[in-house]
């Protein structure tokens, strides 16, 4: 009995291994086994066989692991996990204030411990947090699949670069204007888009993103085309962070009589960015508890039901688009000031896809999830630098694996609980008509 089972298993595994090997050989064989050289080819079939063998062996190992007790219990937990969806809070959860305080303090203290490289990576990560939060409003909350989000990012970045070139704008004024300008672009995009459903919306936004990038590339006289445009470094109350003053002020280090270091500039950017991210996180957190945020989510669930409740779906979508775009615009300013230079290659479709991946991996609609995912997806490529040219390959695999592991995102969505103000509330208002703004 035992033996029969075993030999059955072995047969099954052997079959599986053979099948995987053949498929892997067909798939991997030509590309990795026969390397093109001019109009001829070089024979690397050994490599292809080895690869296919590895794949088949991996498959067998996974099957073996899963057929053991531990493996199958893991598998069960795994499938349970992915089945679950949204839950409602009980209303008794405590808000983790100490943890929050710790995170904020640690975040603010970070520059003191980090060198410029870590700081640079942290700034980039925070920029993506900002982008993720913005796109999360559009995709996660309002359910509008936006594949051209990078357009608003570009608007923010070019606002600083071109604004300083043509209008003499600085970092701070750009920071103030960017949300409005990006919001305006969001509105322009929203009008044609709001008539469309689902994936048609996706392609139109993709098209919009591409149009913005192409115009930035082609409009040489205004944007500098592919050569890009320099963006001015930040100032603090008129103090500059360059070695010698360029914008007609006093350099920071001279004013305070300390030795010059390029790090000061990054400290300033980091601190401002961190505070902005905190503010945006708070605003998004509030929005979700506000009528407007709830309307977005309702619209994502069922547009027709929303209309039957008197919701102006056009304006509601518009507001989501504009607020998302504004956040993207803010991120753009930080990007430009951090880079000191912008050009269209930073705003390709791939960038939009990456931001979308952040939102989806984080768990549509989850703020904490988006923050985590943004950190993971920006820090990961840096961590993977040791893989050299295999970096992108590994990154791609990890993206697939992460999606399969957590298809609903890293963080599970919870809905707030609500309770009446008094226990007798249900008896109140009986004849109190609702004051509706008609």
């Amino acid at each position: 009995m035992e033996n029969a089972l075993k030999s059955h298993l072995v047969m099954k595994l052997a079959k599986e291994a053979l099948f995987t090997f053949v498929i892997a050989l067909i798939v991997l064989g030509p590309i990795s086994g026969l390397v093109l050289e001019g109009f001829s080819f070089r024979n690397e079939l050994a490599r292809a066989l080895a690869l296919a063998g590895t794949v088949a062996a991996g498959r067998v190992l996974v099957s073996l692991a899963l057929s053991t007790a531990i493996g199958s219990s893991l598998l069960q937990r795994f499938s349970r996990n992915s089945g679950g969806g949204v839950t409602v809070k009980t209303g008794k959860e405590k808000f983790p204030y100490p943890l929050l305080a710790l995170v904020i303090v640690a975040g603010l203290a970070f520059p003191a411990f980090a060198d410029k490289y870590y700081l640079g990576v942290a700034i980039l990560a925070l920029i993506y947090v900002l982008l993720g939060l913005g796109l999360n409003i559009v995709v996660g909350l309002a359910g509008l699949l936006d594949l051209g989000f990078v357009a608003f990012y570009a608007v923010g970045a070019y606002l600083l670069a071109l604004g300083s070139q043509y209008l003499g704008l600085g970092f701070w004024s750009a920071l103030l204007i960017a949300p409005f300008l990006a919001g305006l672009f969001g509105m322009i995009l929203a009008f044609p888009v709001l008539r469309m459903h689902g994936d048609y919306l996706a392609i139109v936004t993709l098209g919009f993103g591409e149009i913005i990038r192409l115009v930035l590339t082609n409009w040489l006289e205004f944007t500098g085309g592919p050569n890009g445009a320099p963006a001015p470094p930040p100032t603090l109350f008129g103090l500059e962070f360059t070695r010698t003053a360029r914008q007609g002020g006093v350099p920071f280090h001279e004013y305070f009589g300390i030795p010059y270091s390029a790090d000061y500039k990054f400290w300033l950017i980091y601190i401002v960015l961190f505070l902005v991210v905190c503010a945006v996180v708070y605003a998004v957190h509030r929005l979700r508890a506000m009528p407007l945020g709830r309307l977005w989510e309702a619209l994502r669930e069922d547009e027709i039901a929303c209309r039957s409740l008197g919701v102006n779906h056009v304006f509601t979508k518009l507001s989501a688009f504009m607020l998302g775009a504004s956040t993207g615009g803010l991120a753009g300013v930080f990007f430009a000031v951090h880079q000191g230079f912008v050009n269209p290659t930073s705003f390709t479709f791939f960038e939009s896809a990456l931001i979308l991946a952040i939102v989806v991996l984080g768990g549509l609609g989850s703020t904490v999830g988006v923050i985590l995912a943004a950190l993971v997806l920006t820090i990961l490529p840096e961590v993977l630098r040791d893989f050299a040219e295999y970096r992108v390959f590994v990154f791609g695999i990890l993206m697939v694996v992460m999606m399969i592991w957590k298809p609903r995102g890293l963080v599970r969505i919870t809905r707030p609980a609500f309770f009446p103000s008094t226990s007798s509330a249900t008896a109140m208002h009986v004849n109190q008509p609702l004051e509706v703004a008609r």
Partner: protein
């Protein structure tokens, strides 16, 4: 003599070649429970969609008397830029759907809060900074939601996901949600479908109570003749898109045209 809240005048609705409604006219009186019945495919849901602004009638007009003013539904939904079916709701018509349309992944209370957004939507900043006024309207909205949950006997489900409720409760939640828009006229599309007889009886009490306690006019589509005969003041019968009968329950139930097209049996058998 009570006034008509809603007047449907010569409405015709076409989909390509198909005529779903032809020259439909009827009136819904203030405070009445009016039932719209008819065979499957007679065009009942379609006329509902015209009334609630989801379709624009190909011909004819639909007029709502609300707060002493009369407004034409067709005009509301074709207003440039701001127009749309949401204006119809704001004018005082609420509805439920033949296929339940709840916000399934949101909690029951949230479903009701969304219906009240007109009263609670303050500006962006007041919500972000939690101004006192914002808190007050929010508390009021929650209380009102609980009030309607109590009315619909759904209190224990308040903080569950709407999609997790059993079907019958989802139906009631949909009505509660519609009521949260504080309508003058509520349109119910087959509210008893999928309910068992005892639940149906409960539902008919709810509908009666809505009318008596909340000064509401009800327009209901239903195939459950027991329910219709027991609550309706007035019945309109559609067949092949046309009104074939219009009158009190007993008039309609004895109308040979209605028996032939719809009931198929005499009235006694139905109410038994």
């Amino acid at each position: 003599m009570r006034d008509a809240v809603l007047e449907v005048e010569n409405v015709t609705m076409r989909f390509g070649g198909i005529v779903a409604n032809r020259n439909v006219s009827f009136k819904v009186k203030q405070g009445d429970i009016t039932a719209l019945i008819g065979p499957n495919g007679a065009g009942k849901t379609t006329i509902f969609n015209c009334i609630t602004g989801f379709y624009r009638a190909s011909e004819g007009r639909i007029v709502l008397q609300s707060n002493g003013r009369s407004c034409n539904i067709g005009d509301l939904i074709t207003k440039p830029i701001v127009g749309g079916s949401h204006l119809v709701t704001r004018a005082g018509i609420a509805r439920t759907f033949q296929n339940i349309r709840l916000f399934k992944e949101m909690s029951v209370v949230e479903n009701l809060l969304i219906a009240q957004h007109l009263a609670t939507t303050n500006n962006l900043l007041s919500g972000i900074f939690k101004t006192p006024r914002f808190r007050r309207t929010e508390v009021e909205a929650i209380d009102r939601a609980y009030y309607w949950l109590g009315q619909m006997n759904l209190l224990e489900d308040a903080n569950r996901l709407a999609g997790q409720l059993p079907y019958g409760r989802q139906r009631r939640l949909e009505i509660a949600r519609a009521m949260c828009t504080s309508p003058k006229l509520i349109c119910l599309d087959e509210p008893a479908a999928g309910l068992n007889p005892s639940e149906t009886r409960e539902l008919s009490q709810v509908i009666r109570r809505l009318r008596s306690d909340h000064d509401l006019t009800v327009l209901v589509i239903e195939h459950d003749m027991g329910l219709v005969m027991s609550i309706a003041d007035h019945i309109v019968v559609l067949d092949h898109g046309e009104v074939i009968s219009d009158g009190t329950p007993s008039e309609v139930a004895n109308d040979p045209a209605v028996i032939a097209a719809y009931l198929g049996v005499s009235e006694e058998e139905v109410t038994a």
